[in-house]
């Protein structure tokens, strides 16, 4: 019997309103509910049909991101892909106005992809429970929050009660030891972890990421890692708050200032898993062995170091994936012409991501056969990037510089990869058709995406970074 507790257990136990029993799940309190236009309209309809209001509009924040155009308005007209997309946005605007919910809408300096915006504004804080009708809500776990995606019915539950029915999860610790090699980013770590766990390997677990390689990541890299937890089936990924976390959040819009902040910070540091805390499963990876990664199949776990041969299929699904992607077992993924490069999304649309891509692109040109789209994750990222002149680096290289949104990550706003086209994308899913019907997606880091845009084929970014390529 040990009293040592994990980070997850500490956060969970602070939010139990009604304890679970064998017959009934527990009632879990939600500190922060993030809302966007795609998964919320039916939830508002549902609670209104029951004559309910939003219990805590002050703990609910909304943004427009999924179906929003990334080209600016012309003569005041937003170029929505369909009238339905426009009406979905208008529904959220009306719902927020009616229920007194803060919306980072058009014209707001805060608007951004929901998982970029929350942390940036300091809405996301260590020890909180954070939910959103979006499976990449795990992103916020990088701050030591318990954050996960919910369905639309549950969005309605949280709107009406600020609570969710939940059972305690099993826990898994993924320790990535060692020092990451130069040119290896949080995205490469994420793809390596998912390749290790397998696509469903995290199902039923909350993952805590630990180890020197994880600690060495900046907050943005940690968010990238936690973001992709769902791609191993885990509902949430978490990292214990440390000095990096506290420095990153200090001074942000929604955190307290001065002494109150420092007092809070002391509490946050105490959230770390106790020495001797027991996890249901432990996985250890050698971080120093991770190389720039890219996927070869149609699931995010089908990843391998760039330049390594495509593995032999182990199942019919693998064979189908290879046929869809047009790759051959034993062959290479680095010789096929790339048609589209996408840099953006809640996985890799933050300032350090854009800097990493710009570092590779500076003074170089995108292959004329490649269409490259750079979409900042939020208005704040756009402002900061433009202040550094990064947008000039992109446009001078031949890329398009867009306004914030999910864009080609989910391809529901009109930004799509064409049928049969091959894309190198910094987003999180390479499913068949994810970026457009028939589109073929390679997932990779921002530096890899930029290198591939220059070369016109999937390329290890270290080629352009003056590093030794040993893969």
């Amino acid at each position: 019997m040990t009293s040592a507790r994990t980070l997850y257990e500490k956060v969970w136990s602070r939010h139990v309103v009604v304890a679970e029993t064998e017959a009934t799940p527990g009632v879990m309190y939600v500190d922060l509910h993030l809302v966007h236009e795609v998964t919320s309209p039916q939830a508002f309809t549902e609670i209104e049909a029951r004559g309910r209001t939003v219990r805590r509009p002050d703990r609910t924040f909304a943004t427009l991101d999924h179906s929003t155009p990334t080209l600016p308005a012309v003569d005041g007209e937003r170029p929505y892909v369909t009238a339905e997309a426009r009406s979905q946005v208008e529904r959220l605007e009306a719902n927020c106005a009616r229920h007194g919910i803060d919306l980072a809408g058009w014209g707001s300096p805060d608007r951004g992809v929901v998982h970029v915006m929350g942390p940036e504004l300091g809405l996301t804080q260590p020890g909180m429970t954070v939910v959103c009708g979006d499976s990449h809500t795990a992103t916020h776990g990088a701050f030591g929050a318990l954050a996960f995606g919910i369905g639309t019915s549950e969005v309605g539950h949280v709107l009406a009660t600020q609570c969710l029915l939940q059972r305690r999860s099993r826990t898994m610790r993924v320790t990535v030891d060692g020092t990451l090699a130069p040119g290896v980013s949080g995205k490469d770590v994420a793809l390596a972890v998912i390749a290790e766990l397998g696509f469903g390997g995290g199902t039923g677990f909350v993952i805590e990421y630990a180890g020197q390689a994880v600690r060495s990541l900046d907050m943005e890299g940690r968010m990238t890692l936690c973001n992709m937890s769902i791609e191993a089936g885990a509902r949430a990924g978490m990292i214990a708050p440390d000095a990096v976390t506290i420095d990153w959040l200090r001074g942000r819009k929604h955190v307290p200032h001065g002494a109150a902040y420092e007092a809070l910070a002391t509490e946050w540091l105490a959230l770390a898993s106790d020495a001797g805390a027991v996890f249901d499963q432990e996985i250890v990876l050698d971080g120093s062995a991770i190389r720039p990664m890219a996927t070869w199949g149609t699931t995010p776990d089908a990843g391998a170091p760039i330049g390594s041969p495509v593995p032999q299929p182990r199942s019919d699904s693998d064979r189908k994936a290879l046929a869809y992607m047009g790759f051959e077992a034993g062959g290479t993924t680095t010789t096929q012409a790339v048609d589209v490069v996408f840099i953006g999304s809640c996985t890799n649309g933050r300032l350090p991501d854009l800097r990493a891509a710009a570092e590779v692109l500076r003074g170089r040109k995108v292959d004329p056969r490649v269409r490259m789209l750079v979409v900042p994750g939020s208005e704040a990222v756009r402002r900061d990037a433009e202040a550094e002149g990064l947008h000039h680096v992109f446009t001078e290289a031949g890329a398009e510089w867009r306004i914030p949104g999910c864009s080609m990550c989910i391809a529901m706003n009109g930004d799509v990869v064409g049928p049969g086209q091959l894309a190198v994308s910094t987003s999180n899913r390479n499913f068949e058709g994810r970026q457009g019907k028939g589109a073929r997606t390679i997932l990779a880091s921002p530096a890899t995406a930029a290198a591939s845009a220059i070369a016109g084929v999937l390329t290890d970014p270290r080629v352009y970074l003056g590093e030794v390529v040993d893969a």
Partner: protein, 195 residues
């Protein structure tokens, strides 16, 4: 929500593993603000050509959904996004149960809230179901077992609360709302703790 107690139907088999929510309902159909009518969009890119003409070879275009309430699918079914549009689409198409060797977490939770029962079975049972498509299968939620032909019944587990809600045809929001006093007390205790 319609109650679901016992269901007997022919199976439709899709053996592919990792059928993700983008296959079940492509993202471009998520601009709807309704929960209904999505059956026409279920597995859309499997069923229709780029120009919208139906693919005659697509099994989902050939069967009578009313006679095929049970979908048998490959491992890790429903992985990917949290979109509840996926179970809405499957239910609207006609399915009432999905049988696989594993089913993604969020999909499971969404499906149970919409009268679509996720059933996880062992590999041998799954292999047999796949080897005999179109057979009549009974899924008995009251007994928590799957029965077919003269095979021994196969037990399956469903989270007990969600199971009861499905058996009774009630949704969970009402139950959660009954806890309002506890929620108020929790919020009150917290404010005093912070102050």
């Amino acid at each position: 929500m319609e109650p679901l107690k016992t269901l007997t139907s022919h199976t439709l088999v899709l053996t592919q593993a990792n059928i993700d929510t983008d296959q079940i309902i492509p993202a471009r159909f998520l601009t709807t603000t309704e929960t209904t009518g999505l059956g026409a969009k279920a597995f859309y890119d499997w069923r229709y050509e780029a120009d919208g003409s139906p693919r005659p070879e697509a099994v989902l275009n050939r069967i009578d959904p009313a006679a095929h309430r049970i979908l048998v699918a490959g491992d890790n079914f429903g992985c990917g996004s949290s979109r509840e549009h996926a179970p809405w689409a499957l239910h609207d198409y006609g399915f009432r149960a999905v049988v696989s060797t594993s089913i993604a977490d969020i999909f499971t939770s969404n499906a149970l809230k919409n009268g679509l029962l996720p059933v996880v079975v062992d590999q041998a049972t799954w292999d047999d179901l796949v080897a005999h498509p179109e057979q009549a299968v009974t899924i008995d939620l009251e007994a928590n077992e799957l029965r077919r032909g003269n095979h021994a019944p196969v037990p399956f587990a469903v989270e007990p609360f969600a199971r009861q809600c499905l058996l009774d045809g009630v949704d969970t929001l009402g139950w959660l709302l009954n806890h309002t006093p506890a929620i108020e007390a929790f919020e009150h205790a917290r404010t005093t703790e912070i102050a």
